[in-house]
Amino acid sequence: MITKRIIPCLDVKDGQVVKGINFEGLRRISSPVELAEEYSRKGADELVFYDITASAEERRLFTDILKETAANVFIPLTVGGGINTVADFDRVLKSGADKVSVNSGAIRNPALVGEAAKLYGDQCVVLSVDIKRVDGVFRVFAKGGRENTGMEAIEWIRRCTGEGAGEVVVNSIDTDGVKRGFDLEMLNAVCEAVTVPVIASGGAGCIDDFITLFKTLPKVDAGLAASIFHFGEVSIKDLKEEMVRNGIPARI
């Protein structure tokens, strides 16, 4: 049976991982390539690189780092951040990305999802959505969660998967950073609406949060997190062993 995936996410700026990461109290690692290798060794099933640079020059640096990572790390690599056109898809795919995650770019130009899916296949296009409850309704937020688009989230996700998004990352703004667990209600609503894989993001604070996620919502395919892995609060190895103990399929 296919395993549930555990996915660390790295923010990359100016060729470095933002703030650097203290790996289990050892030394600080700022090189995205080194960190990616470390996560791969520790059992990450997939990696997300998020490009938070702005200028074209920095973007070229990011692309170089991507190439170096793909030359050294042999697990699937998803790239997000600054993906606005088919040319952006092309650039990161040629540099070693396996999947491309699109968020604000799809909100600005909803045709992007369909165009990219036709060119590169559905499995390549990951829709990432930042969602927040507003008066009890799930709304899509843009610009890193700062701007309410007014769009109803489930409808937006249905539309994009209908056009070819092959996977959905659900990032709950309501639970993000709170570290009290994933947003099970929101994730359930998405899982009931789509047939493509759903990746949970936002809210994980400890191993138990992942166990609760996969036990409560068997339709969720993967759990994504950043800081709890980066700062050693959760070790991927321990997490996966606990998953297996709980009867959740995991790659060890």
Binding site: M1, I2, A70, F74, D98, G121, V196, P197
Partner: protein
């Protein structure tokens, strides 16, 4: 030398890097001379079967691959490249493959329970059905990475490994000097690299 056959299908960057990582002398080429000179061939591929088969045919590389493998040259197909080794595919119509391994590519829907998602995407365990040199460094039930919506059927005697996804799905096949992986060895971590290393160490004649 290993030549990855470039027929304009998919991205060969990761595949090339993974062979380099196991120390192989690897080139990417569509030049018939490089394909003739190589002692091993890799047939890659992602995307739609029809487009890939058409590109292989219009480039004339289909005949060259058949000639070279008929002489005993080692060939490994990866993902769609593995599917291309078969007689035909029922992916959106019916399309002819290379016919190097008997069998048909069929949609996963119909083979697996409806509640399971398609594509079959993610890490799944290999159930080795027959010992094969490409598995020589593997332990039991190691995990490999899959992304596919179609799979090889009616090829029982050439299946060397399956993966369980509601039903046993063809994961790797071999017939004489030709073999193939439905999964992506270049994205399957150390397990994938061990398979590629074992393939690189094969010598012509090992698999006759």
């Amino acid at each position: 030398m290993i030549t990855i056959i470039d027929y304009g299908v998919g991205n060969l960057f990761s595949l090339t890097c993974s062979f380099k990582a196991v120390g192989a002398d690897v080139t990417i080429s569509s030049d018939p001379e490089d394909i003739k000179k190589a002692d091993k061939l890799i047939l890659p591929g992602v995307g739609a079967f029809r487009d890939a088969a058409l590109k292989l045919r219009t480039s004339g590389l289909d005949e060259l691959i058949k000639e070279e493998t008929a002489k005993g040259k080692l060939l490994m197909g990866v993902c769609l490249g593995m599917q291309m080794l078969f007689d035909r595919s029922l992916e959106y119509g019916e399309h002819e493959g290379l016919g190097l391994i008997p069998g048909i590519i069929r949609p996963l829907s119909g083979q697996i329970p409806d509640k399971l998602k398609i594509p079959h995407m993610g890490w799944n365990a290999l159930d080795i059905k027959k010992p094969h040199p490409i598995f020589k460094y593997l332990g039991e039930r190691e995990y490999v990475y899959f992304v596919h919506s179609f799979s090889a059927c009616d090829c029982d005697e050439n299946i060397i490994a399956t993966s369980e996804y509601g039903a046993p799905i063809t994961a790797a096949v071999a017939k004489g000097n030709v073999c193939g992986c439905q999964f992506h060895p270049e994205k399957s971590g150390d397990t994938g690299l061990k398979i590629l290393k074992a393939f690189c160490e094969l010598k012509e004649g090992d698999l006759c």
